[in-house]
């Protein structure tokens, strides 16, 4: 479904990704793990069209994403939960969610999806008319996830969804991710909570210094000593 082929990406003069390749198949839950600054976020941004690869190609359902404008990705069915609970701080919670359903196919089902989201995160229903900027850190994170789901994507990319969430919620969110995935949504997960991520994922890639250095099922990866020592502490 998603095919990343040998991309090189960077900021100004600084190359961050070096020949990164991986794929995500329909219905799969794939995790991307790696230390701080390895280039995980950059990879997601490249897929989203926010950072153009210097070279290489990215295919989504056979369509070359490098040729599509960035705002088309949502329409194609890719959604992303940005790092650090980035939401529209000046808009209310409700407006944020409504905007999540921007692509035409999602807008049709807006009311229904909205209900689903309120069930998933009741706190958001309570804060409906609060400006997103005044939410607590964790509440923002919920809003960011919910907003991405509002677009009813085929591929959901999450950049550290557990970031700043209380333990109880982390469990809930991982359960929810699994549930969504089992319902058929393809998921690419970037996560620092490595153990949880590996438990969840069908397959994982390990990225270090901008290069893919390992891949396999969770058991396989957990058997690698370098993964254990570097990520599990």
């Amino acid at each position: 479904m998603l095919n990343v082929e040998n991309i090189n990406v960077g900021y100004k003069d600084l190359q961050v990704l070096w020949g990164v390749s991986f794929q995500v198949n329909q219905g799969e839950l794939v995790a991307l793990i790696g230390p701080n600054g390895a280039g995980k976020t950059t990879t997601l941004k490249a897929i989203m069209g926010l950072r153009r690869p210097w070279s290489g190609a990215i295919y989504f359902e056979g369509c070359n994403l490098c040729k599509a404008p960035a705002h088309k990705m949502a329409e194609l069915g890719i959604a992303m939960v940005p790092e650090g609970g980035r939401v529209f701080t000046g808009l209310t919670v409700l407006e944020n969610l409504e905007l999540g359903a921007f692509p035409p196919h999602a807008r049709k089902h807006m009311a229904q999806t909205l209900e689903e989201m309120y069930q998933l995160f009741p706190r958001l229903a309570e804060r409906k008319f609060q400006r997103a900027g005044t939410l607590s850190g964790g509440e923002r994170q919920m809003l960011a996830i919910a907003r991405a789901l509002m677009s009813r994507p085929k591929l959901l990319m999450l950049d550290e969804p557990s970031f700043g969430l209380a333990p109880l919620l982390v469990d809930r969110i991982f359960a929810k991710i699994q549930e969504i995935n089992q319902a058929g949504m393809t998921i690419l997960l970037v996560e620092q909570n490595v153990r949880a991520a590996l438990e969840l994922a069908h397959r994982s890639y390990v990225i270090q210094n901008g290069r893919i250095v390992g891949t396999g099922t969770s058991e396989e990866l957990l058997s690698f000593e370098f993964v254990r020592s570097a990520y599990l502490g």
Partner: protein
């Protein structure tokens, strides 16, 4: 004598009672954990202590002085420094200069710029950003920015340091490093209040933990007691840790 004593602290936003009647103390040399579900008022408490918000009621005694209504910079000069959950670095200057601001103001401003630079550089090294000292902060990643903020707060030579989720987004191995660093900070005679959601860190670091829920203090005690407190498990942890 406690270093910090918070009494009956309350804060509401419009109709929302974000903090209500919270009291606790921090003894010198202690590491106090402040935990609670998302939106329970932890950051708000830190904001109240550092003068970013004015409480509706309550008092905050720091070194036997009520610091409520003191301007923020005065609070810092008394010896309280902090980091921000949503980072607020000085984006268009270098990491080193960020830290320099802390070093040249703060509680004990450095006598000369040269000395300040040396100390700041050392602090950056210590948090693991030595190689980025001369990068503009806007070119740094979120984690790196958090480290800059930590170094910057340390540079202000606080007696009390408030850390707001500096470990969010770290992987377990990195959390270990961070815990190590925090212990070292304590050894520099700095008292800490740590807000974290990473239970492992809370357990491993804190002498005492205060738990907030919906703005109220629902538990206080040693970490091991807290993780077994059924109320805490119900509203926050979800399961028994440790």
């Amino acid at each position: 004598m406690p270093l910090l004593k918070v009494e009956g602290l309350s804060k509401s936003f419009g109709g929302l009672q974000a903090v209500s009647g919270v009291s606790f103390q921090v003894a010198e040399g202690e590491i106090l954990g402040l935990i609670g579900p998302n939106g329970s008022g932890k950051t708000t408490v830190l904001n109240l202590i550092t003068g970013f918000l004015q409480p509706n009621a309550g008092a905050i005694w720091f070194c036997d002085e009520n610091v409520v209504n003191l301007p923020r910079h005065q609070i810092c000069r008394r010896g309280i420094a902090r980091t921000f959950q949503l980072t607020k670095p000085f984006l268009n200057i270098t990491a080193l200069e960020n830290v320099l601001v802390g070093r040249m103001y703060g509680r004990q401003p450095a006598p000369s710029r040269k000395a300040a630079e040396e100390e700041s550089l050392a602090l950056l090294e210590r948090v693991g950003l030595g190689d980025k000292a001369h990068s503009l902060v806007k070119d740094l990643s979120l984690m790196q920015r958090k480290k800059v903020e930590l170094a910057r707060a340390l540079a202000a030579k606080p007696k009390l340091l408030l850390l707001d989720e500096i470990m969010a987004g770290l992987n377990p191995a990195e959390v270990d490093d961070a815990m190590h660093l925090i212990r070292e900070i304590r050894s520099w005679n700095i008292t800490l209040i740590v807000v974290e959601h990473i239970v492992k860190a809370i357990l491993g670091l804190c002498d005492r933990v205060v738990v907030l829920n919906m703005g109220e203090k629902i538990a206080e005690g040693a970490p091991q007691e807290i993780v077994h407190d059924p109320h805490v498990i119900e509203v926050y942890l979800g399961k028994v840790y440790a």
